[in-house]
Symmetry: C2
Subunit: 234 residues, 2 copies
Amino acid sequence: MSRLDRSLIADLPIFQGLAPADLDGILQKARSLRIAKDQAVFEQEGDAHSFFLLLDGHVRVVKTTPDGQQVIVRYISPGEPMGIAHALGRTTYPASAVAAVDCVVLAWPGNLWLEMAVAFPSFGAGTRKTVGARLQEMQAGVVELATEQVEQRVAHALLRLVKQTGRKTDEGILIDFPISRQDIAEMTGTTLHTVSRLLTAWEEKGLVKSGRQKVTVVEPHRLFALAEGQTNKG
Amino acid sequence: MSRLDRSLIADLPIFQGLAPADLDGILQKARSLRIAKDQAVFEQEGDAHSFFLLLDGHVRVVKTTPDGQQVIVRYISPGEPMGIAHALGRTTYPASAVAAVDCVVLAWPGNLWLEMAVAFPSFGAGTRKTVGARLQEMQAGVVELATEQVEQRVAHALLRLVKQTGRKTDEGILIDFPISRQDIAEMTGTTLHTVSRLLTAWEEKGLVKSGRQKVTVVEPHRLFALAEGQTNKG
DNA sequence: CAAGAACTTTGATCCACCGCAAACTTGACC
DNA sequence: GGTCAAGTTTGCGGTGGATCAAAGTTCTTG
């Protein structure tokens, strides 16, 4: 296995404030893995043997209901930790993580999390912050699902993806991994049919351009206006 | 101010494993407050100067959208911490907390959280666990809102409240604080009208008994069956 | 390059739930 | 104990979006 260079992780938020020697020590304990597209990094309900850091690619975090429906809880971008069940006092993963494209991840044994948090306070603070941000995110998601119409929810979802993974092209801002109508539906609690109708309507208005597993936001501001636009209840 | 007895908090999950002397030290730094019904313990967006422990009463955690809609994120029961923004690396409260009945709470200065977490590792672990459980809860909420019909969501909400705060009476299990149709609607992303219709329908079937700001679940198992019943999408 | 799989579009229909409106009930307060 | 506010019920109509169905369209693979 090739040696891991500390520059891979030195600039990441959760590793801020660590000395080069500490980073090297942390890296020595990590395994690096390649995950092929559509493979799982870890599985819902599975024993939380490891926690992970996504180095390259995009991962979707999915919860499946007993009756087989899927909900995409969030997408993970390069540099973000995932599967940090141990930082939450859990022994099992609450969701599955599936590679949206070929990925490279680092993996540490789960019990190391506590050790690292004790040894490097800023690492502990970093994960706390990540967890806090995600809790916040999920609360916002609940509010969104509880109060907004489908059109606004889909608009918000696209804007979030654009912000998180957008890549500038000459047509607008492209969501930088393959994403289907079905995926967007599972993020927003609707159906692929409704998503398709919305996208074609928006395309006619010049807000977006989309194709097979591909969405480009042409006019983010106008899409934002639509996302924030007047609600029904209120 | 009256002295606080350590027996008040000795048995709480987040204070497990602390020596009596430690508990006393922690209590010395706490202020105890009475919060009248409908008063706020802390406010959304407000500076997170303190974190709290609910000793007695019930508190609802509410998020308000820019356009004034409210969502009840969760209810806090006696013994639970709240407003633990500092444990999440945040400096501001992400939601408001309002007393559902007259309450007694303990309050500590926010910056003390880190100090306590360092001094008492089991306290740190306890809050991690609490945070983990809440993150989990919120994810489950998103899944619920994204996949279930209104009837199932309301049924689930009632069952959660029954489990959390249910008090056995001769008619069934009573939710132990005043809760209106509007409150239930704000927990489940629907309207008070729909909640009212559901409750009367359930009452006719003998599943619940309800009155003004009062709900008693008569047959939890049958309500549960309804909550878990077949979905539409699938 | 042919054939199939995966993804998307589009139409038609239906119904769960919302929004509005008005009456009713219960508790609080002077 | 009468009045008023707050909470609840109920009817009615409208509609956002799901469901069902069927045809495109674009990739993949031999």
